[in-house]
């Protein structure tokens, strides 16, 4: 490389010889010694924890798998003394598809495929980001058409939605739609135009001061009072609107923090080049602000996935709601442990994927910085 104007001549002798780092540590034995048995106290703690695991793991394993019952006609088949997973396995399709008409369940499967396809797109380095953004932007509409009907597909009424598909539907749509709303709110709150700033600030302050449950109740019970007679807005639609417009407020504050963290010089450089406000925001400020807020935004997305369970209280039966209903049925009453473990595993899996995506993003960003 000869790109520096003021460069040393090539033949200046080096002052010293570089040596390799003398501390070399690798291999599992080395790792175990350094991390588990580095001192008397650490050795004692390690051995104590191993002892506890040795006591607990066989019992848990026996209950959950070895003595458990996975198949059978009804509860009487649970004779092993371990977990009775029948409440989940026998009602599997009910928990997944809710009350969706059986002949149309391929539409739910298609919706799952459309939703899950986001992840390979997000993880890919080859596909241009533009297409990923367009895909995610169109996803809510696609899900709505596939699941609710339209373009030749028969309409399925939203009260038939339930179980995992409802959880998925609510989470996917509110994640996709709340981010753009949040960006507009964050920009509005930073706007130089007082009226826009006041509106955005007032909206954010009001919404985040009131529990989301309140808005869910209002949307499901009171909205009808304010609409003209004869006009009816779908219950599910109202609930989705609440989730989008409430969760957007928290994201807006996260994004605003990210925008404020960008040095003023970035906006000045863009201005000096003659770049207008919207392009400066879209291409210069927001990409940096969103990158800096990845951990907080991922945290919020995970929160939104879990918040979908709140729709239960306005009568929509998501995965948690159907599970509770299962436990109330005569046949499966008392199997709380098994059912809630099952639901926890499902939520854990979803949120784990989101969390891993966050870590992947952070690593990518760190790589780009160096």
């Amino acid at each position: 490389m000869t790109d520096s104007v003021a460069q040393l001549p090539q033949n200046v002798p080096s002052l010293s010889v570089a040596r390799p780092n003398p501390v070399v540590s690798n291999g599992p034995v080395q790792w175990i010694r350094e991390n588990l048995f580095s001192s008397w106290l650490n050795t004692a703690i390690t051995l104590f924890i191993f002892y506890l695991l040795a006591q607990a793991l066989p019992i848990a394993l026996d209950w959950a798998i070895l003595s458990a019952t996975f198949s059978g006609a009804d509860r009487d088949a649970c004779t092993g003394g371990g977990a009775c997973w029948l409440a989940l396995t026998n009602r599997f399709s009910f928990l997944v598809y809710g009350f969706y008409p059986e002949g149309d369940r391929w539409r739910v499967d298609l919706a799952f495929v459309l939703g899950v396809a986001v992840f390979p797109l997000l993880f890919s380095r080859r596909i241009p980001k533009k297409y990923v953004v367009v895909y995610i932007g169109l996803l809510p509409l696609a899900l709505w058409l596939v699941l609710n009907g339209g373009f030749g597909l028969p309409t399925v009424e939203s009260h038939r939605f339930g179980g995992f598909m409802l959880t998925f539907y609510l989470a996917a749509i509110s994640m996709c739609l709340s981010l753009p709303v949040a960006i507009l709110l964050a920009l509005g709150r930073q706007s130089k135009l007082p009226i826009i700033r006041w509106l955005a600030t007032g909206y954010i302050e009001f919404i985040r001061s009131v529990p989301i449950i309140t808005f869910l109740f209002m949307a499901s019970l009171m909205a009808q009072l304010f609409l003209p007679a004869g006009v009816e807005v779908d219950q599910l639609f109202r609930v989705i609107a609440v989730m989008v417009f409430v969760s957007a407020v928290y994201k807006a504050e996260i994004i605003r923090g990210g925008i404020q963290g960008i040095p003023a010089g970035q906006v000045e450089a863009a201005k000096a080049l003659g770049v207008g406000y919207w392009r400066t925001m879209a291409y210069i400020i927001l990409p940096q602000a969103l990158r800096n807020t990845v951990p907080a935004l991922i945290n919020n997305f995970i929160g939104v996935v879990k918040e979908t369970s709140l729709v239960m209280i306005v009568g929509l039966l998501d995965l948690t709601g159907l599970a509770m209903a299962t436990l109330e049925s005569q046949e499966w009453v008392g199997l709380d442990l098994e059912v809630f473990i099952g639901i926890s595993v499902i939520f854990f899996t979803i949120n784990m994927v989101i969390s891993r995506y966050g870590i992947f993003l952070e690593r990518n960003i760190a790589r780009m910085r160096n």
């Binding site: 490389m1 790109d3 520096s4 104007v5 003021a6 040095p263 010089g265 970035q266 000045e268 450089a269 863009a270 201005k271 000096a272 080049l273 003659g274 770049v275 207008g276 392009r279 291409y283 210069i284 990409p287 940096q288 990158r291 780009m368 910085r369 160096n370």
Partner: protein
């Protein structure tokens, strides 16, 4: 204070006044810059020198006076501000490259989005200018991977990509390690020799002697003295200029 220039002045500033809240930062500035002229502005910190050049592309607003750039009157009309900004390039003390874009994208972004040039044309222009600032090999790196001197040269190339008629430099070497100052000044000297109209806020007196047509000394928001560099450095007229020069050249 100033000598009235002929009518081909590209920048005309008349009785410019600016306040930050109660602080009167620019006090009745009059300045004409001829096409192709190189001006070095110096002065103690807080004298308003950066503020003055930042008003020229409306990074700072002013409350009183007139400012005309290339025949366009600076007012609150956004169209005029945009039109002026397209004629004026700026280089900042802290480089202000876009860290999430490669060097090449930094140079093509405004060309494509403001000038509306097609990608291939914008990239050809960018590569040509990166060649001129002697860093074509770094085009696909990110700013964070470059040294300060290299980043500042990219920043100069980025501004030049827009084909500005005027270049503003706001202490372009103040944030650099000493061994990198020369490589940036070399590029600026070359640019000056090419005939660009330049206003530089800098304390690099060697650079001022070499390229400046005029040195302007500011203090407390006023142009205290303006002169050709030889007279200014060898025979400063004003007590304040003398003191300032003795401070920066004294040791």
């Amino acid at each position: 204070m100033f000598e009235a220039q002929n009518n081909d002045s590209i920048i005309k500033i008349r009785n410019l006044n600016k306040w930050y809240e109660a602080f009167h930062v620019l006090r009745g500035i009059d300045l004409d810059v001829a096409n192709g002229e190189k001006i070095v502005i110096c002065g103690p910190s807080g004298s308003g020198k950066s503020t003055l050049i930042r008003t020229i592309n409306h990074l700072e607003e002013f409350q009183e006076g007139n400012l005309t750039v290339d025949g366009i009157e600076m007012d609150e009309n956004l169209k005029n501000i945009d039109a002026i900004r397209q004629e004026v390039g700026m280089v900042f003390q802290s480089f202000n490259l876009f860290p999430h874009m490669s060097v090449l994208d930094n140079c093509t972004f405004a060309q494509r989005h403001v000038r509306g040039r097609p990608k291939a044309e914008a990239e050809a222009i960018a590569m040509d200018l990166l060649e001129r600032v002697k860093i074509p090999h770094q085009a696909h790196k990110y700013p964070g991977q470059l040294s300060g001197g290299q980043q500042q040269r990219v920043a100069i190339a980025r501004a030049l990509c827009m084909n500005p008629k005027i270049m503003l430099f706001d202490e372009p070497t103040s944030a650099l390690d000493p061994e990198m100052i020369a490589e940036v000044l070399d590029v600026m000297v070359e640019l000056a020799e090419g005939g660009m109209t330049m206003l530089c806020v800098t304390h690099e007196m060697g650079f001022a002697r070499k390229v400046a047509d005029r040195v302007i000394f500011m203090d407390e928001g006023v142009i205290v003295e303006e002169n050709d560099p030889e007279t200014f450095f060898n025979n400063p007229q004003h007590e304040r200029s003398k003191m300032f020069l003795s401070q920066i050249l004294g040791h």
